[in-house]
């Protein structure tokens, strides 16, 4: 049981034309079983926040801590999944999934055994030795998720992981993601540009707005839990409360812009 806590995190990029406040005093708690989705217009600091949590950049102000211990740079407790170009084309599917384990010095037989678990969890059995560039976009992203899970991190940080997929593939990968999330009980921080995706996946939604990038609203959601309890995805997305919330979120985003 652990909690990730971002406290008044600000990130300022120095620039010739004046400093850019990419993120302004953002505070966020991601607890056990949370699936936090960040939504907002381009330039609202979502990716900056994710990069700060991942440890790729140090906050100008504020702290990010896991169970009270400040993070110092990237670490194996936080795994990342990106939109694209993040798989290693020189490795086949299973070696990609086992990549993190290889970095961590796990011996080959053991890491294949662990990788195989996550391959089957994401429905990738039979593709172990395929080249990643021969897979469809949806399967590539599933390989990316399996790779992130294989090292058993505390939290998954996902930066628009489904952004490059077509609408139909996207919906099916969303459902796979929810099932994987409920089975592995990982914390998730997920960035998207799609309001529907945000509402469907998240247990908590944070709305962000640009210049300076900041968190403007927070919603608690239960659509994902309803899906996992057996309600069909289409029925949830067509339900009255889903539509109302979608319109509410959209009006806030457009009101801010």
């Amino acid at each position: 049981m652990s909690t990730l806590q971002a406290d008044n995190v600000s990130v300022v990029f120095p620039a010739d034309s004046g400093d850019v406040h990419a993120l302004d005093k953002a505070s966020l708690t991601i607890g056990e079983g949370d699936f936090v989705v960040a939504l907002g217009a381009s330039g609202c600091g979502k990716t900056t926040l994710l990069n700060a949590i991942a440890g790729f950049l140090a906050p100008t102000e504020g702290t990010i801590a896991i169970d009270g211990t400040p993070i110092g740079g990237p670490g194996a407790d936080r795994a990342v999944v990106f939109q694209k170009h993040a798989l290693m084309p020189w490795l086949n599917v299973i070696d990609n999934v086992a990549f993190g384990l290889q970095i961590q010095g796990v011996e080959r037989a053991k890491r294949y055994e662990m990788a195989n678990q996550y391959l089957s969890l994401l429905g990738l059995e039979g593709f172990e030795t395929s080249a990643v560039y021969q897979l469809s976009g949806g399967m590539q992203q599933r390989v990316g998720v399996a790779r992130a899970l294989a090292t058993d991190p505390e939290i998954l940080l996902m930066d628009k992981p489904l952004g490059a997929l077509d609408a139909l593939t996207r919906e099916s990968v969303q459902e796979i993601l929810l099932r994987v999330w409920s089975e592995t009980r990982k914390k998730v921080f997920f960035i998207t540009h799609s309001v529907e995706e945000a509402l469907f996946l998240g247990t908590k939604l944070i709305l962000m707005s640009p210049r300076p990038g900041r968190i403007t609203h927070t919603y608690d959601l239960d659509f994902s839990r309803r899906y996992l309890r057996g309600e069909p995805a289409r029925a949830i997305k067509a339900s009255q409360d889903f539509i109302e919330m979608r319109e509410d979120v959209l009006s806030r985003i457009h009101g801010d812009a």
Binding site: P74, G75, R78, V80, F82, A86, M88, I103
Partner: protein
């Protein structure tokens, strides 16, 4: 129909035949595909054939004197003669072997030095600062310009010859390795760091691997430079080698041997490029696909 119109008609017919060479017979629906898609090997064969034919025609019709351009069969006779009896105390095989040894010794030396230095320049600003000025300075200078200096410093032995070829290969190879390390995407690098990778692990598992396609392309280009410099290198007190063979034949206006040497150098360079392409296909099948 006038004669002129007839000619036009025939010209169009030839153009159509040429356009259709290499085109697949199976009808294709990719009318709006990528410009230049499809295999061109048949056209290449046709080009080679036509060039040979033109060569044969102009020489056998005695439009050009054999001193300037001997007919192909004369060059072939020379090929047989030089292969068996030799030219200036060495057979064609010995000349070729000597040149191959020089080019490959220089190439091997360049690979073990230029690739690490180029990678170093890509990932380390101290290395970049150290090596960038000398490499960028000497790179555009024609090898013939610094050949005298090399002879003054290193004499007229084998060292100078290999060194000259080596310098021709070094710069393009180092630069491609340097550019290659930029191939890894920031996402790939971030993924490795997020698994707790050290800087060295990021280099080893991501940056070097991603650089491989560009380094292999660099090797192909660089050895091409090696063959280019070969003749210049063998201008100096050589007693065998294809470049030497060409140069000494030219002094006796032995044009057949000059052409023979040129063809053999071109053939060897082409063969090596084929081998490199094959290796590329095996080593970096993902090239251009991810």
């Amino acid at each position: 129909m006038t004669v002129e119109a007839n000619h036009k008609q025939a010209g169009r017919g030839i153009a159509r035949v040429l356009m259709n060479i290499g085109r697949r017979r199976r009808p294709t629906t990719e009318v709006y595909g990528q410009p230049g898609a499809g295999r061109s090997s048949l056209i290449s064969f046709a080009t080679a054939f036509v060039l040979l034919l033109v060569w044969w025609l102009v020489t056998n019709a005695e439009l050009v004197k054999p001193l300037f351009l001997p007919p192909p069969e004369m060059v072939f006779d020379k090929f047989v003669e030089v292969s068996s009896e030799g030219f200036n105390n060495a057979t064609l095989f010995e000349h070729a072997l000597q040149s191959i040894m020089r080019v490959f010794a220089a190439f091997a030396l360049a690979c073990v030095t230029a690739i690490p230095i180029g990678i170093g320049m890509g990932v380390n600003k101290l290395m970049r600062g150290l090596f960038d000025p000398p490499i960028e300075f000497y790179r555009p200078i024609p090898p013939l310009a610094y050949l005298p200096l090399i002879i003054i410093w290193f004499g007229i032995g084998e060292t100078s010859k290999i060194l000259l070829i080596y310098l021709g290969i070094f710069a393009p190879l180092a630069l491609s390795a340097r550019a290659g390390v930029r191939s890894a995407s920031i996402e790939q690098i971030h993924v490795a760091y997020s698994f707790g990778a050290s800087r060295w692990q990021v280099l080893k598992h991501v940056v070097f691997k991603a650089a491989l396609p560009e380094i292999l392309t660099g090797m192909r280009i660089a050895i091409g430079f090696g063959w280019t410099v070969l003749v210049a290198a063998e201008m100096v007190a050589a007693t065998s080698g294809l470049g030497y063979m060409v140069l000494s034949a030219s002094e006796f206006l032995n044009t057949s041997v000059v052409i023979l040497g040129i063809i053999v150098i071109g053939f060897l360079a082409y063969m090596f490029d084929m081998i490199m392409r094959f290796i590329e296909g095996k080593l970096v099948p993902w090239k251009g696909r991810a």
